[in-house]
Amino acid sequence: MCNTCGCNVTDGNRHLLSIPHQQKSVTAITVLSNLLKHNDQQADQNRASIESHGVLAINLMSSPGSGKTALLEATIQKLKHKLSIAVIEGDLETENDADRIRAQGVQAYQITTGTACHLDAHLIQQALTHIRLDEIDVLFIENVGNLVCPASFDLGHHRNVTLLSVTEGDDKPAKYPVMFRASDVMLITKTDLLPYLGDFSVEKAIRYQHELASQAPVLALSSRSGEGFDAWLQWLEQEVSQHKIRIQQQQSIKPTIQAEGQQLHQQEPVRFRPVARA
């Protein structure tokens, strides 16, 4: 009890008081909810609806021009007879990427974000109404080219693929730790250009990634020459078959980092705590 007026101020909560002993009462509520609660709720709904069709959803993130669409084009070509694929494309402007994917003979829906530098769960919800999920095994979501913003938004996908093209320099994981820490697999792309650059070290890139305590495999490949592509296709096919088993057992997964975060910040119920009474 507070000596002056008998309010509920104690040494433990005194610091929470911003306007002490005023006429009206101030109530402090401990919330402890994720800042992105609404996005995350929508993401969980997206994930459930994607899973109800047995589909695996993969989010591709990288800086602009690292080769996300080229990776998808080559992947579709090589897996055409094994897996059925659809793509949601995110760009600020143009239908170009969706057109490139449709030219490969698969479904594609283009989201144009205008000025927004990332996709979010609500944009994906709308896009999903344009995709025939019952016809596919894998849904790729190509995020807006950006190494910062997309990492904060759960879309309702299952796995994060990050791309680092060799022309960007091998220290990108050290410069953008939040993004690269989110990797479930990290792809070093455009390796056919390595001979022209000379100073990109695949080992260094792997070391920087390792320093993020990331357990994600790092694969080097070229969508142009096909070099290193088999390991990527193998990773993908394995993820698809594991996902089918999980779905049969009615289990769900989130990208490693989102699952970890959720475990870390087990949501506490909203508490109601009056700290001052007039």
Binding site: L16, S18, I19, K24, S25, V26, T27, A28, I29, T30, V31, L32, S33, N34, L35, L36, K37, H38, N39, A116, C117, H118, D120, V148, C149, A151, S152, F153, P173, A174, K175, P177, V178, M179, R181, Y208, H210, E211, L212, A213, S214, Q215, E260, G261, L264, H265, V270, F272
Partner: protein, 115 residues
Amino acid sequence: MHELSLCADLMDQVTALAKTHQAEKVVRIVVKIGPLAGVEPHLLESAFTISCAGTLAEEAEFITESLPIRVLCNVCAAETEAPRSNHLLCGECASANTQLLSGDELILAQVELLN
């Protein structure tokens, strides 16, 4: 510039709380942002100044608190503080097999309402 979208979600939560508790206005908002959240506290603060206009939180004090990056080693069980956000190895044995104990928070921690 995803701070504005973050703020929109935040404002939804705050105004919903204010309504539930029939508050006259929001006095103070405390958010916790870890260095690994991918959010710049000062950008979020400016986003708040824009988003709060015309809401019950228009005059609210907006406080961002940071937390240290701490990792738990799955190999030697040491709990150590990471020196920077791109070095999350165990501070004792340098293993990469660590899990984050804190540092990626993006949490609406507390709201103070005036009734």
